[in-house]
């Protein structure tokens, strides 16, 4: 019994007296979960706010004036007023459907020509119709539909109440929904766009993190690196050799994870919406994804190599890499749960964030070649800087042989 206590005390002391372990074991888990969820909450809140403040673009035909007047300046409470812009719909129905699908217009309401008259003379005239165009694949269109239709339904209800003595005329008007207002491919891709970029980047990082520190800090720690340094091999060759081999291995590891996700997707998607079809993506889409993966893996391996060359031990390297891993996690989460992919050119120069953003875009078929090239070229430049630094470090005896 005494021995057990002695051992327990020693083992606990071992951890508690080691600052690194204290941070790793006690601080990081709580902190990281707190950060992740706070961030996720904030991002989603921001997104909701952004949608609520969005100006609804409504096109109408023959809308009753009473309805129009209600919509304009509708009080939403909390000192907020419905932000809406109402235009007359002059285009043909098919054109309107296209514009709704592409996101130019949030909502189209086409009322029958004699709509109000038909409601007024409901006993003698036929039931009038309201035709609705909206894109449930787009959050802003969805929001517009809900806001505007609640007013329309209230109008319907008030008419219904005025007919209480004629219960057989329960229906006030007929609502029809227009077709071709939703891009099915984009819809199907949206779930993936949320999930995949984040997972891909996390797997890339995790793959590189599991081999990078061992290959560089580990060799320093085990004194095998100096054996390499006394050969006439150029330091820059060593740096490139390390970075390229680590990149290939990390890439293979990430691709394995990627394939795993793809294989499990049919099951996963079945649960969600029953439309789990990956054949919406063409070969060229997969090629673009692979290209982004390669660019990103170089960058991540470059970073991890520099940190590993600086660290004296594998343990120290893993510790120093942690914060960057968390930043990557956070970037992944923010981008995935954020609004639609950002198309701005400059965004794609930001390491990791640019790549995750672009990946989200590729999954919803909303990206440009320019952005793909920007991510590729900028990653190669960042990697070149890392390799240069690595070369300098390999030449620096204080870093390579510090005691």
């Amino acid at each position: 019994m005494r021995n057990i206590m002695t051992i327990i005390r020693k083992e606990i002391y071992r951890v508690v007296s080691d600052m690194r372990l204290v941070v790793m074991v006690f601080l990081l888990p709580g902190l990281s979960i707190f950060l992740m969820y706070t961030l996720m909450g904030n991002v989603m809140q921001d997104q909701v706010t952004a949608i609520q403040e969005h100006q609804i673009i409504l096109y109408e035909r023959n809308m009753p004036d009473s309805l129009k007047n209600q919509l304009i300046g509708l009080d939403l409470g909390d000192d907020r007023v419905l932000n809406i812009e109402i235009h007359e719909a002059k285009d043909a129905d098919t054109v309107l459907a296209d514009r709704v699908r592409e996101g130019d217009i949030d909502l189209v309401l086409l009322f029958d020509e004699n709509f109000e008259e038909a409601i007024l003379h409901y006993q003698s005239m036929a039931l009038p119709q309201l035709k609705v165009f909206y894109n449930y694949g787009r959050q802003q269109s969805n929001f517009s539909y809900n806001q505007v239709m609640s007013v329309v339904r209230a109008y319907e209800e008030s008419v219904r109440i005025s007919r209480l003595e004629d219960p057989e005329y329960y229906f006030v008007f007929h609502t029809a929904f227009a077709e071709n207002t939703v891009d099915e491919r984009q819809m199907a891709g949206q779930g993936l766009a949320m999930l995949m970029p984040m997972l891909i980047v996390i797997f890339l990082f995790a793959g590189a993190m599991s081999i990078g520190p061992d290959a560089i800090a580990g060799e320093k720690e085990r004194n095998t690196f100096a054996t390499l340094l006394i050969t006439p091999t150029k330091r820059s060759e060593i740096a490139l050799g390390k970075v390229i081999s680590l990149s290939l291995l990390s890439l293979a590891s990430a691709i394995s994870a990627f394939i795993g996700i793809i294989l499990s997707l049919p099951n996963l998607m079945m649960l969600e919406n029953g439309a789990g079809e990956l054949n919406i993506y063409r070969f060229s889409d997969y090629l673009s994804i692979l290209f982004v993966l390669m660019a990103t893996v170089l960058l991540i391996v470059g970073l991890i190599s520099v940190i590993s060359a600086y660290a004296k031990t594998i343990k120290e390297a893993s510790m120093l890499i942690m914060p960057f891993y968390f930043i990557t996690l956070i970037v992944g989460i923010v981008t995935s749960f954020g609004a639609e992919p950002n198309q701005a050119f400059l965004v794609h120069l930001i390491p990791i964030y640019g790549a995750v953003n672009l990946l989200s875009g590729i999954f919803v078929f909303d990206w440009s070649m320019l952005n793909l090239i920007t991510v590729g070229v900028s990653s190669v430049i960042y990697t070149a800087v890392f390799v240069y630094v690595l070369n300098w470090m390999f030449n620096n005896e204080k870093i390579m042989f510090q005691k």
Binding site: R222, T224, A226, T227, L228, L229, T231, P232, T233, E397
Partner: protein, 261 residues
Amino acid sequence: MNTLQVENIRKTFRLSKKQRKIEQTDLKKKVAVDDVSFTANPGEIFGLLGPNGAGKTTALRCIATLIKPDQGDVYVGDYSVLKESSEVRKNIAFLTNELKLEDHFTPNYLYRYFSRLHGVDETVIEERKERLFKRFGIDRFAEVKVADLSTGMKQKISLAISLVHDPNFIVFDEPTNGLDVLTAKTVTDYLVEMREQGKTVILSTHILSVVEKLCDRVGIIIDGKLKAYDTLENVKKQSSDGELETLFFDFVKESLGEDHA
């Protein structure tokens, strides 16, 4: 010319807090090698004799281009370690127990790997490997992972691998340290063989008998400074009783006295 000239090298290390604790000193800097010069000639074994912490490894590392002297230079043949370090590396073998081989690989794999990094021809690689592996009795273990081999065998593999490029300069740091007598003899026999081949051999040691048995010329280094430097015979003559041991301990005592003063 295959002489190796060490010219007034000095190497200072900044001491970390941890090291100050170990060395029990308040000084922020440590002069590990203090203005040391010597010459090693082809066909000779030069011995650097000194107690632990005297600066032997540091001096040899400067020669092997792993670190740069703050002052002075070393000429390995015609090449300066400061200016032509990669030429120096092409021509030198450096063995120290601070350089390790990766456990995961076999002697065959590592031998070929380092041969290629030295730019040795494939046919020469195999020829030389066979000869060296046989010479050191590695051949039977050529396909066993380094991790599974004994300390002595590991040391012999390191030795063979340090020679993949058949260099003219051999720099061995405490080459028999921690080895059993048989393995130690294999190593010292080989050093003698290298001398006969006309190579320039430098070894460091804290063991007097190694110097007496092997070295043609010797430098005694104490606390970074070269206290004596001559042929073995002439150095012995400086001793009160003609014994290397007496001289060595006199130097050590002298330097301890300085420390306490």
